[in-house]
């Protein structure tokens, strides 16, 4: 079974996003960029499927600027076999991304695509399910546990109120949630080896996909601030305040 894992280069999750003064977006110049944390979990899961002998090949793909290659190398260093870099300087929407991924999944003959449940920059949370719809594949989103068996995959999903288990007939799309696994760190020898792994260079045009955006950003602003209140000296004082507010 061939597994495909898309990864996105995003503002590092430890860095606070700063809105640009002209309200055109978030300032991404001279800030640390990393692999989307949910994508790290996807990569880890694909590598584990390979180590278990379930996956025959694990291919990582990133759609983004020249530097997205670094993100692909990171995935190769933890055990992905091969990379595909679809280079574009446009900030593509999940719909366009899903269309490109559909073409790649078909071309590669992938049986399983593992995506993060959302990217922590735009927070759309749409790519995985959109891809599943375009391919007419079943989906298991917000995966907590996955288990493959023959031509099916069982996905335990994080849902409101607890966990839900679904069984999907392969090929399928799985999107990862936080507790699926704990991603490993790349070892130095593997980082060196990853430099020799193959990365195919492509463009959106190679897949014949219209990537024109459907949404126009009118403006990006700071969220309404919440000012700090007061410190109370004791539990008694706190209870007094809350009673005055009428919330208890």
């Amino acid at each position: 079974m061939k597994v495909l894992v898309p990864v996105k280069r995003v503002l590092d999750y430890n860095v606070k996003a700063r809105v640009k003064a002209d309200q055109s977006g978030v300032d991404l110049s001279n800030v640390k960029m990393s692999m989307n944390p949910f994508d790290e979990i996807s990569v880890e899961e694909a590598v584990r499927l390979k180590e278990a002998g379930t996956a025959t090949e694990a291919v990582v793909v990133s759609i983004g600027p020249a530097k997205a290659q670094e993100t692909i190398r990171t995935a190769l260093a933890v055990g992905m076999d091969r990379g595909i870099h679809v280079q574009t300087d446009e900030d593509l929407e999940p719909l366009a991304i899903a269309k490109i991924l559909k073409a790649i999944a078909e071309e590669e003959g992938a049986q399983l695509v593992i995506t993060g449940k959302q990217a922590i920059d735009n927070d759309y949370g749409a790519t995985g399910s959109m891809l599943a719809a375009l391919l007419d594949w079943p989906q298991g989103t917000f995966a907590n546990t996955v288990e493959t068996s023959g031509d099916s995959i069982t996905v335990k999903r994080e849902v409101d109120g607890g966990l839900q288990t679904v069984k999907l007939t392969l090929p399928a799309v799985v999107t990862t949630d936080l507790r699926l696994n704990e991603p490993r760190y790349a070892r130095l020898p593997d980082i060196m080896k990853a430099k020799k792994k193959q990365i195919d260079a492509k463009t959106p045009a190679d897949y014949g996909v219209d990537t024109a955006p459907r949404l126009t950003t009118v403006k990006v602003t700071e969220p309404a601030g919440r000012s700090a209140g007061i410190k109370v000296e004791s539990v008694e004082a706190l209870v007094g305040k809350l009673k005055t507010e009428g919330v208890i």
Binding site: Q139, L215, K219, V220, L238, L242
Partner: protein
């Protein structure tokens, strides 16, 4: 303009998230219909028909929709969309699951987790875990939208919409429901509770979480947690409040042993009153708290419970 709102329900009760989504839909202007997809949906449909400003309630009653699996929901909704200009659903896990499928099938870009409606085609939504707010204008002919329900007031009840049953959908053949493990609790639901008591890494262990739960029970509150507490295994993931968990906006939010990471604040900063109890006086949570108490939570929390 005709707008379809998908109801949030558990086949027995209609959830408040539906009323809030109706408010967002009404702000776009046009006729609002509600879709109730599930099994044995008569009662839920009757409740939905009472929501103010609703034109009609559509029901579809089929075993494949009991758990609202994504493939089944797509099969029901996509054909309906020839009659509608927009579809809105709460951004809870049930709807976040299938809405992008609907969008992709209609070849439109989903507008996720909106917190504001500027006009019929322009919406405000949080990005970067709520550290920035983007105003986006959609050029798609149909709008597929999920709604951050904590940002909208619930529509009132007093209406009497018409109702109509739809034909049974075809069952999806490639996915099936196997089982579920739901957290059993007599406490209110996290997303709808008037009071939420949350614990963070400072609570220290799964056993220690009992003092958070005990305070919550005294207050009739829901129990939440920070991602750090979930990652540390103190509580299940569905307790998680924050960017990667649930968004809540109760009357009173009590954050205990929570430092106040950006990703946590994203999920609770719309609460009316925020109380923080933390022994670290420099914890970022104090910057958003209305009332802060610098104290050892293991002393302050039992004391607070006793004082109520």
């Amino acid at each position: 303009m005709a707008i379809l709102v998908v109801a949030e329900h558990d086949n027995t009760d209609l959830k408040d998230a539906t009323h809030k989504t109706v408010t967002a839909a009404a702000a776009m202007g046009g006729d609002v219909d509600i879709l109730v997809a599930g099994t044995g949906v008569k009662d839920v449909m009757a409740a939905a028909a009472k929501i103010d400003g609703v034109r009609a309630v559509l029901g579809v009653d089929h075993v494949s929709l009991t758990r609202q699996l994504a493939e089944a929901m797509e099969a029901v909704i996509v054909p309906l969309m020839s009659e509608y200009d927009a579809i809105l659903a709460p951004d809870t896990t049930a709807h976040k699951n299938y809405m992008p499928r609907v969008a992709a099938k209609l070849d439109v870009m989903q507008i996720s987790s909106i917190t504001g409606v500027e006009s019929a085609d322009t919406f405000v939504r949080p990005i970067y875990a709520g550290n920035a707010m983007a105003t986006v204008k959609s050029s798609d002919s149909k709008k597929v939208i999920t709604v951050r329900t904590t940002a909208f007031n619930a529509a009132g009840e007093g209406g009497s919409a018409s109702d109509k049953m739809l034909a049974d959908p075809a069952s999806p053949s490639t996915s099936e429901f196997v089982g579920e493990e739901l957290t059993k609790s007599d406490r209110p639901e996290l997303a709808a509770a008037k009071i939420v008591v949350s614990g963070g890494r400072g609570v220290g262990s799964s056993e220690n979480f009992a003092i958070i739960e005990s305070l919550a029970d005294k207050l009739g509150a829901a129990v939440g947690a920070s991602r750090a507490a979930v990652d540390a295994g103190y509580v299940p993931n569905d307790y998680q409040v924050g960017q990667t968990g649930k968004s809540v906006a109760p009357e009173l939010y009590i954050a205990i042993g929570i430092s106040g990471a950006i990703q946590h604040l994203a999920g609770m900063k719309d609460s009316k009153i925020i109380v923080a109890i933390n022994k670290d006086e420099d914890a970022p949570i104090f910057q958003v708290a209305d009332y802060g108490l610098v104290a050892d939570l293991f002393i302050a929390v039992p004391e607070l419970e006793a004082a109520l």
